[in-house]
């Protein structure tokens, strides 16, 4: 294990991370803490890139900072006034000041323990980690990007369940129904941006999807970018953010897992075991799955942002209030 000297950049990033997190949690107003949280997300993306995890950096930037930020800001915008900073606590406070001190002390003790264990664990890292196995089995997986191989072939079942988690969250949000996103003014900057930003986003999403097979990228990053395109559409006044309505929308929502399941059942009934792609066609099958997964993720994330299914009737194109 060569001594990996940490450079000045690492110190900077670490300090930035911790400061931003602390500031986000203790900011006076909600708006400030959300803005700080988005900044924290971007710095995290930088850290992932520094730690040689490009796929994760892309996903963090698009989903972690981008979309979560958008969701938080919408939640903030629907809130009529600022003073609701300290809304009635819902029983999660632990007995006033002494509670705070006790919690802080105990949490920091546990953290020290884990830190010491990390220190102890890190140094004798056996080389027997799964990286070796992934490397040797990579050429069987049909893709050359190891992360995509793990995501869509070796641990495809995890990704299947993760898409189910996304669908579950969406169904939960839709079942809550309730208030239409009451955004009023159409953002002039967004309308002007819409002209060229949306096609660019769609293009990069397509590129991300394609390049995922042999370089950092993949279904999640592409899906997030498509969702970003939808968000911009919505800000520019399109009430249903470019989404189809009714049955087509529902089919799109389930298309990601649907393809995964049909593939899995087809191989399972073929006697090869669930999701065991035939080695010759693995690459193409993975691309097919990723295509539909991207669409499904994009539709799901946009609907989470909208908060409910868009109405059926199309609004007039003049960007008037829906």
């Amino acid at each position: 294990m060569n001594t990996l000297s940490w450079s000045f950049l690492d110190i900077l990033l670490v300090i930035a991370l911790v400061l931003l997190a602390g500031a986000a949690l203790r900011a006076r107003s909600l708006r400030q803490s959300i803005i700080l949280f988005i900044a924290f997300g971007l710095v995290t993306a930088l850290v992932w890139a520094r730690l040689r995890a490009p796929d994760v950096a892309l996903a963090e930037a698009a989903i972690g900072a981008g979309l979560t930020g958008a969701l938080l800001l919408t939640a903030l915008r629907n809130r009529p006034s600022e003073e609701s900073r300290l809304v009635s606590n819902n029983g999660m406070r632990w007995g006033g000041r002494w509670g705070n001190v006790a919690i802080t002390v105990s949490v920091s003790l546990v953290a020290l323990g884990i830190g010491w264990a990390v220190l102890y664990g890190m140094n004798d890292t056996q080389s027997g980690r799964l990286a070796g196995q992934v490397g040797s089995a990579l050429e069987l997986s049909g893709v050359s990007n190891p992360v995509t191989a793990v995501l869509l072939n070796f641990r495809a079942y995890d990704t299947l369940l993760e898409l189910a988690v996304l669908l579950a969250a969406l169904l939960g949000i839709l079942s809550l129904g309730g208030g239409r996103a009451t955004h009023c003014t159409v953002d002039p900057i967004a309308t002007s941006l819409r002209g060229w930003l949306v096609p660019l986003l769609i293009l990069t999403a397509g590129y991300q999807l394609w390049v995922g097979a042999h370089a950092p990228g993949g279904a999640f990053q592409a899906g997030a970018l498509l969702a970003a395109a939808g968000v911009v559409q919505h800000l520019a006044g399109r009430a249903h953010a470019g989404l189809p309505v009714g049955a087509v929308l529902r089919v799109l929502m389930v298309s990601g897992i649907g393809i995964f399941m049909t593939m899995g059942l087809w191989t399972f009934l073929g006697g090869r075991g669930f999701l065991a792609y035939p080695q010759r066609w693995a690459g193409e099958l993975i691309l097919l799955i990723e295509l539909f997964a991207t669409l499904a993720i994009a539709v799901t994330l946009i609907l989470c942002y909208l908060g409910s299914e868009p109405e059926r009737r199309r609004i007039t194109p003049a960007g008037s209030k829906p």
Binding site: W48, R52, T68, L72, N78, N90, R93, W94, L119
Partner: protein
């Protein structure tokens, strides 16, 4: 001795602790969700730090896949939490 992986690992643990503490103590629901996200990033940082094996050799792809899944799960949970919070405020008109 401290190398890059351990440095980021310890930062991850610190972030997770900050997030955990804030989740328990913050009364405001949206801040709680922020805190949970920060805690998530902390744990993911710990995972990616263990995956990091030096500037030249390739990092452990399995951990990267796990963190990717974790990020998507975190965003879906946050989206559901925000929707519940919005519905809660619509109900009592605050």
């Amino acid at each position: 001795m401290i190398d890059t992986g351990v440095l980021y690992g310890l930062t991850g643990v610190a972030l997770a602790a900050m997030g955990f503490r804030a989740t328990l103590l913050e009364p405001e629901v949206i801040r709680k969700l922020l805190a949970i996200n920060i805690m998530g990033v902390g744990i993911f940082l710990l995972m990616i730090a263990t995956a990091y094996t030096g500037p030249d050799t390739a990092a452990d792809p399995v951990l990267h896949a796990l963190v990717l899944t974790g990020i998507v799960v975190a965003v879906s949970a946050t989206a559901l939490g925000l929707a519940l919070e919005r519905r809660r405020r619509d109900k009592d008109g605050s």
